[in-house]
Symmetry: C2
Subunit: 207 residues, 2 copies
DNA sequence: TAGATTGTTAATCGATTAACAATC
DNA sequence: TAGATTGTTAATCGATTAACAATC
C-alpha cells in the first residue's frame, strides 16, 4: 500500500480522469492545470500538487498531453484491471446499480446478482439471473468476482460482508447505512446516501 | 449561514444521529462519547469537539442523554423541516430513489417525479404519477417542493438544475457525474457514485 | 528572447489529537 | 471522597495555498 497519499487527493483523481475524457472527446491535445482547474473549480496549484504525488506528467511552459495524462491517471486508479462486480441485494437500489451504465465505461462490469429472497432467485435483471445468496462462495468463484456490492438492509450488511470476504472478494462497495468491520487488507468504500441528504438539510436550514 | 463549522464535522452529525437512534431503540438512556466512538470508529475527543461546536449537550462525569442528544442533533441537521423532494429523471436510479425507504424515517418525502421522456409521463412509480419535465415550475409549486433530485444524464444536468432553481427549489441533490453551477444561495450536494467506485479500484490496485 | 506553465519548496491554514480543569 | 466524563485550551499533524526557479 503506497503511503502518504491523502484520501482527498485520491478522491480528486476520478474528477481529473473524467474531465480529461471529455477534453479528449473535444479533440483537445494539450491542457493546462489552469484550464483543468477552471472546468472543475479546483485551483491549478492543487491539481499540480496532486499529480506531482504520482510523477511528472506535464511539460513546463506547455501543459499536459490530454490523452497521455488520462491514460496515466487511469492506470493510477487501476481502471485497466476491469474489475468484476457482484451485487448482493437486488432491491430497488441493487437493481438500479445492475443497470447503471456509467460503470462499464470506466471498466467495471456487473457479472453476478445475489439475493436471499427466494421469489427473486431465478429472475433476470439486465440480462443476469439472480442467484441464491446462500451460494455466495460458488457464485463468486465461478464468476471471478473482484468487488462485492452490498445493497441489503443495514442489519444484514455485516453478514453479507463476511460472506463476501470468505468467498474471496478483494474489495467492498457498501450502500448499507451502517459501519462494517472488515480486515484492513480489504478496501471498503461506503456510499451512504442518507449522509449527503442530511448534510443538504443542514445547509438548507442555515439562515 | 453559520460560519466556521467544517464540512467534516457536518458529515459526522448524521452518523451520530443514526447511532443515537439505534441506542434509543435499545432503550439506552445515557451514552458516553467513548461508547459512541466505539460504535462508529471515531475518537471520543473528536465527537466531543464536534458537539461542542453547537452547544453543551452532555453532563460532566455522566455522559449524554441519548434521546435528548438525538433530538438536538436532529434539529441542528434541520430534519424536523420534513423536506419535500422532487426527482427529475425517472430512470433506474431515479426510480430506485423514489422507492428508497431510508429517507422517510429521516423526515424526507418524495412528493413528485418528473421526466422529459413522453413514454414515461403518466406512468406511476411508487404511487406517484410521472410528470412532464417541461412543467417543472407548475409541479414544483403545486407540490411545495423543497429539494430537487437530479438523476438525468450528465449532459442534461445543468439545464435541469437551472430549471429547478428557477422553479423555486431551495436545495439540490445531484447524482449526475458533472460539476453543476448554482448560485451560492442554493445548497448543492453531489452524490457521484463513480468516484467511490474509482477510489475503491485505486485502493485495490495498491500492492 | 519573452511568455507560459510545470514541479517543488516554503508558508499558511485548518482539522485532529492530546491534555486537563471542571464537575457530576 | 474517588472515579468517570465532559468541555475547552494547547499542541500536533496534515492539507492547501503561495511563491518561484526551471524550462519549454
Amino acid at each position: 500500500m503506497k503511503k502518504g497519499i491523502s484520501q482527498a487527493t485520491i478522491d480528486r483523481l476520478p474528477l481529473y480522469f473524467r474531465t480529461l475524457q471529455l477534453a479528449a472527446d473535444e479533440q483537445l491535445q494539450i491542457i493546462s492545470s489552469d484550464e483543468l482547474g477552471r472546468r472543475l473549480d479546483i485551483t491549478p496549484e492543487q491539481i499540480r500538487k496532486d499529480l506531482a504525488t504520482f510523477g511528472q506528467f506535464g511539460r513546463k511552459g506547455i501543459g499536459y498531453d490530454v490523452h497521455e495524462l488520462k491514460e496515466n491517471i487511469g492506470k493510477i486508479l487501476g481502471l485497466p484491471n476491469r474489475w468484476r462486480l457482484a451485487i448482493v441485494g437486488v432491491g430497488h437500489l441493487g437493481g438500479a446499480l445492475a443497470n447503471y451504465v456509467n460503470f462499464s465505461s470506466l471498466g467495471f462490469s456487473v457479472v453476478a446478482l445475489l439475493d436471499k429472497n427466494k421469489s427473486l432467485v431465478g429472475t433476470r435483471v439486465n440480462g443476469l439471473t439472480v442467484n441464491d445468496a446462500s451460494k455466495m462462495k460458488r457464485v463468486v468463484a465461478a464468476n471471478e468476482v473482484d468487488i462485492g456490492v452490498i445493497t441489503v438492509p443495514a442489519d444484514e450488511a455485516q453478514g453479507v460482508a463476511d460472506a463476501l470476504i470468505a468467498a474471496g472478494v478483494k474489495g467492498i462497495w457498501n450502500f448499507a447505512p451502517t459501519k462494517l468491520n472488515v480486515p484492513s487488507t480489504i478496501p471498503l468504500v461506503n456510499e451512504d446516501l442518507s449522509i449527503g441528504l442530511s448534510t443538504l438539510s443542514y445547509h438548507m436550514s442555515q439562515e
